[in-house]
Point group: D2
Chain length 145, copies 4
Amino acid sequence: MSDLQEDPLALAAAVLAAQPFNAVVGARVTAFGDGAAELVLDIEERHRQQFGVVHGGVLAYLADNVLTFAAGSALGPDVLTGGVSVDYLRAARSGRLRAAASVAHHSRSHAVVTGEIWHEPADGEPRLCALARGTVFSTAARSAS
Amino acid sequence: MSDLQEDPLALAAAVLAAQPFNAVVGARVTAFGDGAAELVLDIEERHRQQFGVVHGGVLAYLADNVLTFAAGSALGPDVLTGGVSVDYLRAARSGRLRAAASVAHHSRSHAVVTGEIWHEPADGEPRLCALARGTVFSTAARSAS
Amino acid sequence: MSDLQEDPLALAAAVLAAQPFNAVVGARVTAFGDGAAELVLDIEERHRQQFGVVHGGVLAYLADNVLTFAAGSALGPDVLTGGVSVDYLRAARSGRLRAAASVAHHSRSHAVVTGEIWHEPADGEPRLCALARGTVFSTAARSAS
Amino acid sequence: MSDLQEDPLALAAAVLAAQPFNAVVGARVTAFGDGAAELVLDIEERHRQQFGVVHGGVLAYLADNVLTFAAGSALGPDVLTGGVSVDYLRAARSGRLRAAASVAHHSRSHAVVTGEIWHEPADGEPRLCALARGTVFSTAARSAS
């Protein structure tokens, strides 16, 4: 807990590094704390679907993970995501994705979190790519009940 | 289009094989046609998160893809998924995931699709692992408008 | 609690009668128990929107309430609905609406519930009108934690 | 169409007045145009559920309607809401509800809309009461296809 208070971003990076699935996707955490989090992903060939744009599943993965990190920064590390929804607004082909989430409201037992995924093309303005929303439970509150 | 009518499952497998991101995840399509689809994934270490269970992002990926395939079997191959929501019900640690989806209703322009992800442990009964729902657009209808 | 065990449907009807907003909408509960519930509404002029079909808000109300009742039959009477989503599939003009919900999974702390709203026209086959899904919390588990 | 361009808010008020279900609920539209809309509701006894707070179905109704109005201000009057989701954050007992929505992204065929419902108690600061999100279709685009 001392690490969490001293360097929350380093803790979040360690958690992300401990997720084998993120090793195949390759996101990195660039902000964490105070009910908010941000993940960044450099778009590569392996992230695409058959039409050459980023797979919706990659966006859904980013949504799931950034919402969970944001909730964890408010509820503590023992969280379990109950559900996630994603609206896909625009396709992304290359450049970078930036997924940012923040807690809209939380109690001891759960948090409601919203997020946005922005597409940052190499040569253009960032564009809103997807909206996300989810509910995350504190398992610490659960096991205490 | 003749292939689609003659062997829809072979067509679906070819589409899945053309998704670079699926090469990373490793799902295979086991049913496709008449507004329904099924994907199967053998759980491996790379699919897990930091607590040793399948990452929510893997379930979200399966949900996104199986809903889109189911819609494509009703709307045709030119589809674009508008949004997906997933409720996570139980954690899955090892064995196999089976994601099945079917179209609840569709017009020419879009389909509403529901899905379930079942966890099939090596040594036990299948258990409902996640619920999914999404909206998929026909881009053929769009470009004709 | 003895009433609940002896005649769950009568209890549910009493709860519904204690909701002032239902007095203006006019639904009645026709099934309640074992993680499931059903509400029925006779469509009248006051339920419509400007095009003469049932207002989406009426369907959303039915979804919210039937999901909450279904969850209450599993979690007990002290519940709080965390969120509801509704997909509108077909418009309903006259006749009757039947909203049915059942718990897909629940722990002590919350339930994930799915529902369907069927339109029963006076002169025709029932048609699926809307899909619903929601998360309902047990406030008893909360206050004990 | 001239009215719409000259006084969009008056047009929106006329549409709302043409919804019989809104006569039962009693919301009024206080902003409309440029992809955004706002509805206001004075909380009365008839809006409550059995615990004395505003019924979730009232919030779901406001969400459905304000999202649809916001979409209609971008897509034109011929719209059909495909789906709505609402997260309930805090209970509201008395005072006023203010539901505001804006289009996050739209094409000719549909819009993705987000909204917030704020509770304005008679004697206190406004508090975020619910989050909403939905997809709205243009039926004009449809019928032209």
